[in-house]
């Protein structure tokens, strides 16, 4: 299923002006190797790099304890595990990279890298170690490669969406009947989402946030306190299946929703419908945004203008194209968008219904189709043994 992606990456690398492409960013590494590193973003002093030469087999360089994981995910190329007792931090990686590039005869060649991901200090080290190499940023190449997905990639994202949605629903099932008595902590509810996303087959969870009541006025708050009745709440989760991400947001209310809460939610759906009709090939990202802004003005619906109204998902949970006023990227078939419009609840809670869509030749196709979420999820019920 992912052979098409492997071939696509190979073709793009062969067609570029560099003798090799090096991917340092965790998201780029994952994309070009089709593997997932264990929480690498959170280990800034440990680095992996994928080296994709034009005329030789690809190699990854990584810490020793990540090497088996890469191999187990089907990486067919060489793996160089560096020794963190020979050099500290990124120097250990650079040392192995030097040996590799020299052995491949690439140390004086033109080498592409992701300039938006490699850190300045690491770049300085590379310039010292490879004084004759010509380093060239290839971020546009990587961006263009990643922004349009293969059918295999879209299939994985669709699975991740279903897993994430089911995880949320399963967690809600635990909350129902237990919110009042014996009571439920917000942390436990959030954890229930994580575990049920995992149980439904996801291979990892990233962002995890539930926000009840006035905490919902913010993008994120620590997961503390108790679930209370009558509160609007938001459930945000990003999760991946084999490295391909869903990024969803769902809304609920503890108890029977009030008329005001229902009205607020419907307003959000109306703006989302306005955006939805613009999700089609040939429309620029900022046109989608402008269309939503006009619809909001016409219908007198307040929305969070400063935030974007969506973004891509793929080998990361937040990537191009970005649906904001400054992005002129034209939507094309194969792009995958997480549509994410924030409006306001009766207590200024942030309301959204974040869904994921594939741009198709005809328009778009919803990938997060498992449940419609066209109404606020009402958490009701009484304590019963079941």
């Amino acid at each position: 299923m992912m052979d098409q992606l492997e071939q696509k990456i190979k073709t793009e690398v062969e067609g570029c002006e560099c003798d090799a492409v090096l991917a340092f960013g965790v998201d780029n590494f994952n994309y070009v190797t089709r593997t997932v590193l264990p929480f690498a973003e959170h280990y800034p002093t440990r680095r992996a790099v994928a080296v994709l030469p034009k005329e030789a087999a690809s190699v990854v360089i990584c810490p020793y304890d990540w090497s088996q994981a890469i191999k187990d995910q089907g990486w067919k190329g060489e793996i160089v595990a560096y020794d963190e007792n020979e050099a500290v931090g990124i120097e250990a990686m650079v040392k192995s990279l030097e040996e590799l590039l020299v052995s491949l005869g690439l140390d004086e060649k033109r080498l592409g890298l992701d300039g938006s991901r490699i850190m300045k200090a690491l770049m300085d080290q590379l310039n010292i170690r490879f004084p004759r190499a010509e380093w060239q940023p290839v971020d546009p190449l990587l961006r263009d490669m990643r922004i349009t997905k293969t059918p295999g990639e879209i299939g994985f994202i669709e699975r991740a969406c279903k897993q994430a949605d089911r995880g949320i629903v399963y967690a809600l099932m635990h909350l129902e009947g237990a919110a009042e008595s014996p009571g439920y902590t917000i942390a436990e509810f959030t954890e229930r989402i994580r575990v049920h996303v995992n149980e439904n087959g996801a291979s990892g969870v990233g962002l995890l946030n539930t926000a009840f009541g006035t905490d919902g006025q913010m993008y994120y708050t620590p997961q503390r306190g108790w679930v209370k009745s009558g509160e609007l709440f938001r459930m945000d989760v990003s999760a991946h299946y084999m490295g391909y991400w869903a990024n969803l947001g769902r809304m609920g209310v503890t108890g029977k929703p009030t008329a005001e809460q229902e009205k607020a939610y419907r307003e959000n759906l109306r703006l989302k419908a306005a955006a939805h009709e613009m999700l089609k090939p040939g429309v620029a990202a900022n046109e989608v945004y402008a269309h939503v802004a006009r619809a909001a003005e016409k219908q007198a619906i307040g929305f969070w203008k400063e935030a974007s109204i969506g973004h891509g998902v793929g080998a990361s949970h937040y990537e191009p194209p970005y649906l904001n006023l400054s992005s002129s990227t034209e939507l094309k078939p194969g792009m995958v968008i997480a549509l994410d419009i924030y409006t306001y609840g009766p207590r200024q809670e942030l309301i959204h219904k974040k869904d994921v869509y594939e741009i198709t030749e005809e328009g778009n196709r919803k990938l997060s189709w498992y449940r419609s979420w066209d109404e606020l999820y009402a958490v009701t019920g009484f304590r019963a043994t079941h």
């Binding site: 998201d27 593997t35 264990p38 929480f39 973003e41 959170h42 800034p44 810490p63 020793y64 990540w66 088996q68 994981a69 187990d72 560096y82 020794d83 963190e84 007792n85 020979e86 050099a87 500290v88 931090g89 120097e91 300039g115 938006s116 991901r117 490699i118 850190m119 300045k120 200090a121 770049m123 300085d124 940023p137 961006r143 942390a187 954890e191 994580r194 575990v195 995992n198 149980e199 291979s203 990892g204 969870v205 990233g206 962002l207 995890l208 006025q217 913010m218 993008y219 708050t221 620590p222 997961q223 084999m242 490295g243 935030a307 974007s308 937040y318 191009p320 970005y322 400054s326 992005s327």
Partner: protein, 389 residues
């Protein structure tokens, strides 16, 4: 902790060579602001920074979407938002430049965490700050962070205790005859972490329970990290229980071994190898000791005793606002230990049967030497689970 750290950082800037510092790394932003947002590292196209000029109040530059969350948790009360064009660092660089022009003399020296700043952002900063001198300040930050304040130490001890308690809490539920799957055990470690009061966050705040042959890998079943599988542990097998957890943005990494029933002689011997290396390390870990020498002593002890220490990895790393930071107990780290440093000690030993045995301990360096904190029980023997109820 707010006043203690804020004063420490402000004083340090005052005494430093910098007229201002600007940090972009998520860990550095948290350290200098107190805002423990866990998600920025996974948004590489979005930028956050704290700009702190000498004698001035720090200012956080943040995407509008994150501003209120930041203010909710930070001790930095001033923010600037910028018009975001994700992937383009222009907006954040301009915001830094505006602050610099208002607070720093022309040609003034501005420190940047170059080990955390992407190349394209750094280049944009150089252009926006052409009237100033940009210099890396990673060494300064390292020195600042590597020695913890008394309140940081108290929090780290609390996190370590809760983490060990969470692991031990689940270990007490394990029975040979009624053993549950790895997945169930993994989740129950997380549940015990929440019960103990550790924060519920996503990303790398995970547990992992591996059993039998799966303990032979660091990450069995990749890419399903921290999930566990349907494998049920068998009598006489090892179980490894791991938990990476946080409270108020300070971290602990814990790992403990459990035997499914009374340990065999082979298991006892293998585990004692781990205990012996911990003892060697603790004897060496005192003020003035070089990390490199500690590693060498442990490696030498392993070689002499025939213990299979897993090579290529450090046997310990600092812990604070991240769970892996300087100093490193590595054969290559020249750092001299000092009181106030905190290290997660983690020599990994391979048993004759190929299991990777771990016992992660949080170690404070004090004037008197090493002080292991947070042990729920005496880990000179593994947790031995009961046969049945």
């Amino acid at each position: 902790m707010r006043d203690e750290l804020k004063t420490k950082i402000a004083e340090s800037i005052k005494e430093s060579q910098y007229d201002a510092v600007v940090v972009f790394g998520a860990d550095n932003v948290q350290y200098v602001s107190g805002a423990y947002l866990h998600f920025p590292p996974t948004f590489p196209d979005r930028y956050m920074a704290v700009f702190w000029a000498k004698g001035e109040e720090p200012v956080c530059i943040v995407p509008p979407e994150w501003e209120s969350s930041f203010l909710h948790m930070a001790w930095v009360s001033k923010t600037r938002t910028y018009t975001e064009k994700p992937g383009s660092p222009t907006g954040v660089a301009e915001a830094v430049a505006n602050l610099a022009r208002n607070t720093v003399r022309k040609t003034g020296k501005i420190g940047v965490d170059a080990e955390r700043t992407p190349l394209n952002l750094y280049r944009r900063l150089e252009a926006a700050l052409e009237d100033f001198t940009l210099v890396p300040c990673d060494g300064w930050l390292r020195e600042l962070r590597v020695k913890k304040t008394p309140k940081e130490l108290r929090l780290l001890e609390t996190v370590a205790s809760m983490t060990d308690h969470a692991i031990a809490g689940q270990a007490h539920h394990v029975l040979v005859k009624q053993a549950a799957t790895e997945m169930s055990n993994t989740e129950n470690v997380r549940i015990h972490a929440i019960e103990r009061g550790l924060d519920e966050v996503g990303h790398h705040a995970v547990a992992q329970v591996t059993t039998g042959p799966n303990t032979g890998k660091f990450w069995p079943g990749a890419p399903m990290y921290g999930i566990g599988f349907d494998r049920v542990p068998q009598h006489r097998e090892f179980m490894r229980l791991e938990l990476t957890a946080t409270l108020d943005g300070y971290w602990s990494s814990g790992a403990r071994m459990l035997t499914m029933g009374e340990p065999t002689e082979e298991q006892k011997a293998a585990y004692q190898g781990l205990v012996a290396l911990r003892e060697v390390a603790l004897q060496q870990m005192k003020p003035g000791a070089r990390c490199r020498d500690i590693y060498t002593a442990v490696k030498q002890a392993a070689d002499e005793k025939g213990i299979q220490l897993v090579s290529n990895l450090v046997i310990g790393a600092g812990v604070g606002v991240t769970n892996y930071e300087p100093p490193y107990i590595s054969g290559a780290d020249e750092t001299e230990l000092q009181p106030g440093m905190v290290v997660t000690l983690n020599p990994v030993v391979e048993s004759p049967d190929g299991e990777l045995l771990m016992g992660k301990d949080t170690v404070f360096i004090t004037e008197n030497g090493a002080n292991v904190v947070g042990w729920f029980k005496d880990w000179r023997e593994p947790f031995i689970c009961n046969y049945t109820y």
